[in-house]
């Protein structure tokens, strides 16, 4: 549950943001990362941005997630909660 997901900030209003990762969009807060700007890629954990990351780092993680997703759909069980 300590895993954070990289996502790009596509809307930003005060500390409320909408992020996009691999086409999925959801609302998060940037309270913990006041320096976050529109267009930045941030690591999101339990609804909060915790760090900015660069394109390369984000791309690698997204690829890793895709592989995990593929594996997971082949698995008998999955107990996923707060990523």
């Amino acid at each position: 549950m300590c895993l954070a997901v990289p996502a790009r900030i596509v809307e930003l209003n005060d500390d409320r943001a909408v992020v996009d990762a691999m086409g999925n969009r959801w609302a998060i807060r940037t309270t913990l990362l006041p320096e976050a700007k529109l267009g930045d890629i941030v690591l999101v954990h339990a609804g909060f941005a915790i760090a900015t990351v660069d394109e390369e780092e984000a791309r690698q993680t997204w690829e890793l997630f895709e592989q995990i997703e593929q594996l997971r759909t082949n698995e008998p069980t999955g107990t996923e909660g707060a990523g």
């Binding site: 549950m1 990362l33 954990h45 909060f48 760090a51």
Partner: protein, 361 residues
């Protein structure tokens, strides 16, 4: 295997030979545990090098008494129990949140969702089951701050938040520990910073290397650890410097410190760890569910036969548990290490054969 991974592996083999003794590296992050299994890293390790899975999964180290308290609260008619999904299937002494099946149990994706529930339902008290390491704690801190600001008096938290570094110190304080070095968690370190491990390196003389989650990064971190051992160094090194700063995330640390204070608290398997837990500071204790409902800290026995305690301390591998794979599987979990997708038992069950024994790589 990529060139970089192969090069790291070769360095490890050479260094382990030079050392001529067993090397045991503990990973303190459930996500690493899973990544290590899935990538088959275990099978490609040099002879003499062992990876131990540590207390890196927050659900797994949550003590049975806490789970029982959560279950007790979930059964009150005046309570809505808000929890991250990870906790839903963890068995308490009598059932899990899933089996109590009360309408008042809600899975939330963030503390914001828990606050929204409190606003929608002024007739109920929303209790947020606040578990997790330092990655998760700041989100709870923000929620408590917001509840205080809004005067949202029907919101409170049951703090089960834990601190990673005191647990590492506790493991090393046990004279029988077999840990030579730590592979430090990526995303916890984003918050606490790589410098947070300095006391472990200095006081206990153990290398602490922060790693990302790509298999090649994990291998390179392990190679860096072997190098330190050969050279007789015990230092903090971050191979994840693009994301983890030495000082961590100052804003998040400040928020944790504003609302919480360290206290001694029970961990599954590790007993009471000095300063290993976090409780709300006195100014915010009106948001403490224990205080609001007059709950005592409960101590409950571990499920019979379950050896999660030994697994979490790196004393045994999950397969050494008599229930592993027979009575205890991901579909019928007996202990939390089998419930959580990041738990060591679950990782062994799902990937053990591929990652551990077929000698590939």
């Amino acid at each position: 295997m990529s060139d970089r991974a192969e090069a790291a592996r070769r360095r490890m083999v050479r260094d382990c030979e030079a050392l001529g003794r067993p090397v045991r590296i503990m990973e303190v992050c459930g996500t690493h545990t899973v990544a290590i299994f899935r990538s088959g890293i275990r099978a490609s390790l040099p002879k003499g090098l062992t990876l131990l899975s540590g207390p890196g999964c927050p659900v797994c180290v949550t003590e049975q008494g806490y789970i029982d308290t959560v279950l007790e609260l979930a059964q009150r008619d005046d309570v809505i129990l808000a929890t991250y999904g990870d906790m839903i299937r963890v068995p308490g002494t009598a059932g899990s949140l899933e089996t109590v099946n009360r309408p008042g149990v809600r899975v939330v994706l963030s503390t914001d969702d828990a606050l929204a529930l409190a606003r929608e339902r002024p007739d109920k008290t929303v209790v947020f089951a606040a578990v997790g390491f330092e990655t998760t704690t700041p989100a709870t801190a923000v929620a408590v701050g917001q509840a205080a600001q809004e005067g949202l008096d029907n919101f409170c938290i049951l703090s089960g938040h834990k601190r990673v570094v005191p647990a590492m110190a506790a493991l090393l304080s046990d004279a029988t520990n077999r840990i030579d070095a730590f592979l430090c968690p990526g995303h916890v370190s984003v918050i606490i910073g790589s410098e947070a491990y300095r006391p472990i390196a200095q006081r206990f003389g153990r290398s602490c290397v922060v790693a990302g989650f790509e298999p090649v990064l994990i291998l390179e971190a392990m190679a860096a650890i072997c190098r330190q051992l050969v050279e007789g160094r015990a230092e903090v090194e971050s191979l994840y410097a693009a994301v983890v700063r030495p000082e961590g995330n100052p804003r998040a640390m400040e928020l944790i410190d504003r609302y919480f204070e360290p206290c001694d608290g029970p961990w599954r398997g590790l007993g009471r760890i000095p300063e290993g837990s976090l409780r709300l500071r006195a100014e915010y204790e009106r948001f403490d569910a224990r205080r609001r409902f007059g709950l005592e800290e409960r101590v409950a026995p571990e499920p019979a036969g379950c050896r999660c305690a030994d697994v979490l301390c790196g004393r045994i591998e999950p397969v050494a548990c008599g229930l592993f794979g027979s009575r205890c599987t991901p579909d019928t979990p007996v202990g939390p290490c089998m419930v959580s997708s990041e738990g060591a038992c679950s990782a062994w069950y799902k990937y053990g054969r591929r990652g551990g024994r077929d000698g590939a790589g």
